[in-house]
């Protein structure tokens, strides 16, 4: 007999001591762990753990476009494939890409495309495959972050990295980095991606709150960006340090 669990949300999203349900402060981020170069067969790859989100990204390219009619004669194309594993959410997710996945893939493409010099690779494509192994709110932000890391790891020339985080409104208060429950039960959710190329929005907020959100996001993003930079550099610096000690 199938187990039936009602989709229930807690009435209050703040605990009595003013902290959030998972014990965070209002503007505290979930713990983030990143890694690059995790997949051997991809040109570039990255892995991200952001709270309970676990995401792999792999980059291939530049290479031929299949199907060929998608190729453009004057510039290259970027294709992003966002997919969720069947076991990534509580109820089994159907493996076929649905409306949501296609939309997020498109959003991520728009987010990453301005960074690349696609005009240098006419008729070719870069492909980013993102697989969400475990989802707990804010996966699209996490995906933008990890996709940028994988692109940089592949050695694709880029104008900058992308960093993304969600800010939102729960129980009438603005918070940073919403978790799954807060995302569903809260009032608004604003995923923001720096380098300020793309902003996405759905929910109820007035303009002042919106502005406030953006500043909040900026603060959080600076922190995440620093982690990104360190992760990328450490891959090489670690090897340098291994031998600099012996030399001096």
């Amino acid at each position: 007999m199938p187990l039936i669990i009602k989709d229930e949300y807690p009435e209050k999203l703040f605990r009595e001591d003013g902290k959030r349900l998972d014990g965070r402060e209002k503007h505290e981020l979930r713990p983030i762990k990143m890694e690059v170069g995790v997949l051997k067969n991809a040109d570039g790859s990255a892995y991200l753990e952001w709270g309970n989100n676990k995401i792999f990204a792999a980059v291939y390219g530049p290479r031929d476009v299949h199907p060929h009619y998608l190729a453009k004669p004057d510039k290259g194309i970027l294709r992003v494939f966002y997919r969720m594993a069947t076991f990534s959410v509580f109820e089994r997710k159907r493996p076929a890409p649905g409306r949501r996945e296609k939309e997020i893939s498109m959003v991520l493409t728009d987010c990453l495309e301005p960074l690349l010099f696609l005009e240098l690779y006419p008729g070719n494509s870069f492909e980013v495959f993102i697989n969400v192994m475990n989802a707990d709110g804010g996966t699209r932000c996490a995906c933008a972050t990890v996709a940028a890391l994988a692109l940089a790891d592949a050695g694709v020339p880029m104008r900058s990295l992308v960093t993304a985080v969600a800010v939102g409104k729960i129980d009438g208060e603005l918070v940073t980095d919403l978790s799954g429950i807060e995302d569903k039960a809260g009032e608004a959710d604003l995923p923001c991606a720096i380098t300020w190329f793309n902003e996405e929005f759905d929910g109820k907020m007035d303009l002042e709150e919106f502005e406030k959100c953006l500043t909040l996001a900026k603060n959080a993003l600076t922190k995440i960006h620093e982690i990104q930079l360190n992760v990328l550099k450490n891959k090489y610096i670690a090897i340098q340090e291994e031998y600099s000690g012996g030399k001096n």
Partner: protein
């Protein structure tokens, strides 16, 4: 006739001249500072100009890096030497190609670039010698794709390459042609200059210590053949070590020590 050519190649390969090392990986004058895409290299745009792997930002008041790599200042240019990347064919490069397909008009070769290389039969035979009064050479040799088979390993030269068309290749020239033996390994193309070393120092050292023939090509593939399998294994391990530590200081000395050590451990003299 063909066999003679082959033998010639085998003889000359022992003293193949090393490609000159690109100046960017020169040991001392390069800082070992790792930079990542989007990182600001300098805000002093009056004295510096963006060189390779760098760009002005929109307001033209900063120079930012495009690649993950090492920062280098050359006169008034700021460059970033990439640590990872792909091979872009340029005319004149010698590369190792794998024949993946052929038809009566041309061969298609995998050269580890975004496009497949095209090798036309007229670029596989020497011209001018057999043509003339006597004999005249057979025309068919010029125009058929019988010389090489699918799966052959060739050392080829890039005749022409740009970003729109497929690169055109040739097998006519010194050291070029089919390889019948040896091993081909591939590493990251940006790290090839380190395997060659400054003025070929690294490659000379590798050859002397492991008594092997090595042919390093710009597309990240390395052809090697040693006296026996033990030397070849040692050489491959050494090259993988060079690839991993390409961005560190004092690499040649360290690799020398490594090979000496490994020889003792593995019992090769």
């Amino acid at each position: 006739m063909e066999n003679e050519e082959e033998e010639l190649i085998e003889e000359t390969i022992t003293d193949n001249d090393e490609d000159k090392e690109l100046p960017e990986f020169d040991g001392e004058d390069i800082s070992r500072e790792v930079v990542v895409p989007g990182e600001v290299l300098t805000e002093d745009t009056k004295n510096f100009l963006p060189g390779r792997g760098t760009i002005f930002n929109k307001e033209r008041n900063k120079i930012i890096s495009l690649n993950i790599g090492l920062k280098q200042i050359n006169k008034n240019y700021i460059n970033v030497i990439p640590l990872k990347g792909f091979y872009t064919p340029r005319a004149g490069d010698k590369v190792i190609a794998l024949v993946t397909d052929k038809n009566p008009v041309k061969y298609r070769c995998d050269i580890n670039a975004k496009d497949e290389g095209v090798l036309k039969p007229r670029n596989t035979v020497k011209r001018g010698k057999t043509r003339g009064f006597r004999g005249g050479g057979s025309e068919s040799a010029d125009n058929s794709t019988d010389k090489y088979q699918i799966g052959d390993i060739l050392i080829v030269k890039v005749l022409s390459a740009d970003r729109l068309n497929q690169p055109e290749l040739t097998t006519v020239g010194q050291y070029l042609g089919k390889r019948r033996d040896g091993i081909v390994i591939s590493i990251d193309p940006p790290k090839i200059p380190r395997v060659i070393g400054r003025n070929g120092s690294m490659i000379k050292m590798l050859k002397n210590l492991t008594k092997s023939n090595i042919f390093v090509t710009q597309n990240g593939r390395i052809w090697l053949k040693g006296e026996n399998i033990a030397y070849e294994r040692l050489l491959i391990d050494a090259i993988k070590k060079i690839e991993r530590e390409a961005h560190t200081v004092g690499l040649t000395d360290r690799i020398t020590k490594y090979i000496d050590n490994e020889k003792k451990i593995r019992g090769i003299n």
